[in-house]
Symmetry: C2
Subunit: 329 residues, 2 copies
């Protein structure tokens, strides 16, 4: 089997499915499992100190000889150290998010690594391209965790970015099944990044209660909160309800910061505190109905994608005609 | 050419492209133009009194001998009268939105008309199905105008609804080009409803300034406002900015109602007041780059769709393999 689209070639992987480097869920075990299926696993450095990141990189390398990467949120105070750690450990694929990648680009390129940046607007995609990135992830507001202020959805964001940049575009936000992967390809993406579906796998390092909550949620199971201090999508729970109520009352940033406190994501995702935790997850949680092994999830994604491509061929042949429409007189 | 998917058969149309019945933009001229291209034009009764609706129906019938329909927002105090008017005028396709269709179903069916309801959640889709609707429009939060409180996006909503109901599903919200139509088909839709793109056509009855504003907006050009009194998506302008500021300050419903006032949509869409009007439009405005005749828009949609189906076939053949993934030992 040839590796033959821009995304599979860039990462030297078999399938253009990338597992998002989520805080508290994406350790070496998840990343290695995804890479072993022929996708691209990412270690989520956002919840790791440099020393722990080094350990995860080393364990991941022991668990797979296929390519994997690291995701580094640039809002971290020690982002530079995390980048240096990944480069020192010979990681060849770096995803950056939540910030401007330009100041890290030289170091990434000097380390011989591929640079990918996560964006939520056309302007950010253009900046990533001119900064020297090799690909961009266009992340719609469906995504769990931090979101762009524009709240542009994946359906609108991907064609806009595909029209604006020459770089390969990877679609993220709201994708949990193969129908949506096919949809992302239609929109102009050449790969997808999937978070929530992989957060609810056996290999995810998240707490069992968090995983089960994702599987149990139907549509409408997430909310966007904290617009004033940094927009976040999370599962509905007591804490999320209090956050929305505070916003409706017009609380200022200081009070909201106080309500949010520190390490809420750890409390929710890693410790499984269903009432008080910030359960970051995407709208695709509505489509996640079980906690399954990565291998099973991966097989489903591909089967659903293949079925969908066939359906679309049939739809194309039967529903549309190729000649231009003729107005009746 | 055979009519051969559930949506084209239901409406007896050639192409499963439905033009949304938008307030102030969707009069007889737009509806007839879309129907004459082989899609389904809808007259938007939301901005019409019964007498004016009757006039538009009669003019539409004189301008096309192909099927067309009427969209009736059920939040209108005189919704019953609008339904009766459409039935009395022998309209055979009724779309309802913003309310519960069950109390109108008998009258619609007695009139020999097809009933379609616009929904924004799985539960609403299930209710529409059990009420006796013939199809549902699943409308994601990308859409212009009124939106569901869950804020579920089209990418997530359509597969969820397609899994939940047996009815044909029509995708709406965020769709302005053929790539997105193909994506909607992948997600499980059998047709699409398009608003904003058709609002910015020559045949639309909206004001020229409103149409040009849609064409000029890039990504991030819309906001969601008025969560407390009825969520609405509109283009950014002075009024939208004041609405967001009021919400950030925690204004109560009475003050927000006062700020909104009455007939803001008319002021914006029909009268073209760029500062003070409520310019209802969807996120797909970022993808609308001109004001064009319906015939031209329609031809582009089909050309883009066809190209996209071909691309996806290529992607399917080259990027994925059909056998299941093999973890490396």
């Amino acid at each position: 089997m040839q590796i033959n689209n821009a995304v599979t070639r860039l990462f030297n992987i078999r399938h253009p499915i990338i597992q998002a480097g989520m805080v508290w869920a994406a350790g070496w075990k998840l990343a290695a499992a995804v890479s072993n299926c022929g996708g691209l696993g990412l270690i989520g450095a956002g919840s790791m100190k440099p020393e722990l990141l080094r350990e995860h990189i080393q364990k991941c390398r022991a668990a797979t000889d296929r390519p994997f990467g690291v995701n580094i949120p640039l809002l971290r105070g020690d982002a530079e150290e995390l980048v240096s750690t990944a480069i020192a450990e010979q990681v060849k694929i770096l995803f950056t998010s939540a910030g401007n990648p330009v100041k890290y680009m030289q170091r990434i390129k000097d380390g011989g690594a591929v640079a990918v940046h996560v964006v939520s607007s056309v302007r950010q995609a253009e900046k990533a391209e001119s900064a020297g990135c090799d690909a961009v992830v266009g992340e719609g507001v469906e995504a769990g965790g931090h979101n762009g202020a524009d709240e542009t959805t994946t359906l609108c964001l991907i064609p806009l970015i595909a029209d604006a940049v020459k770089l390969p575009v990877i679609a993220a936000g709201g994708i949990a099944d193969g129908r949506q992967i096919a949809a992302a390809f239609c929109l102009g993406a050449q790969g997808v990044q999937i978070g929530t579906r992989f957060a609810a796998t056996e290999e995810s390092s998240a707490h069992e209660r968090y995983k089960r909550l994702i599987a149990e949620m139907g549509d409408g199971g997430t909310v966007l909160a904290f617009r004033k201090i940094g927009l976040v999508r999370m599962l509905k729970n007591d804490f999320a309800g209090r956050a929305l109520a505070a916003e409706a009352e017009g609380w200022n940033t200081a009070r909201l910061q106080d309500l949010l406190g520190r390490k809420r994501e750890m409390l929710g995702i890693f410790e499984g505190n269903l009432r008080e935790g910030e359960m970051e997850a995407g709208q695709s949680s509505g489509l996640v109905r079980d906690v399954a092994p990565v291998r099973e999830v991966f097989a489903r994604l591909m089967k659903e994608f293949d079925a969908c491509c066939l359906d679309l061929q049939i739809a194309a042949r039967t529903a549309f005609i190729v000649d231009s429409p003729e107005p009746q007189s």
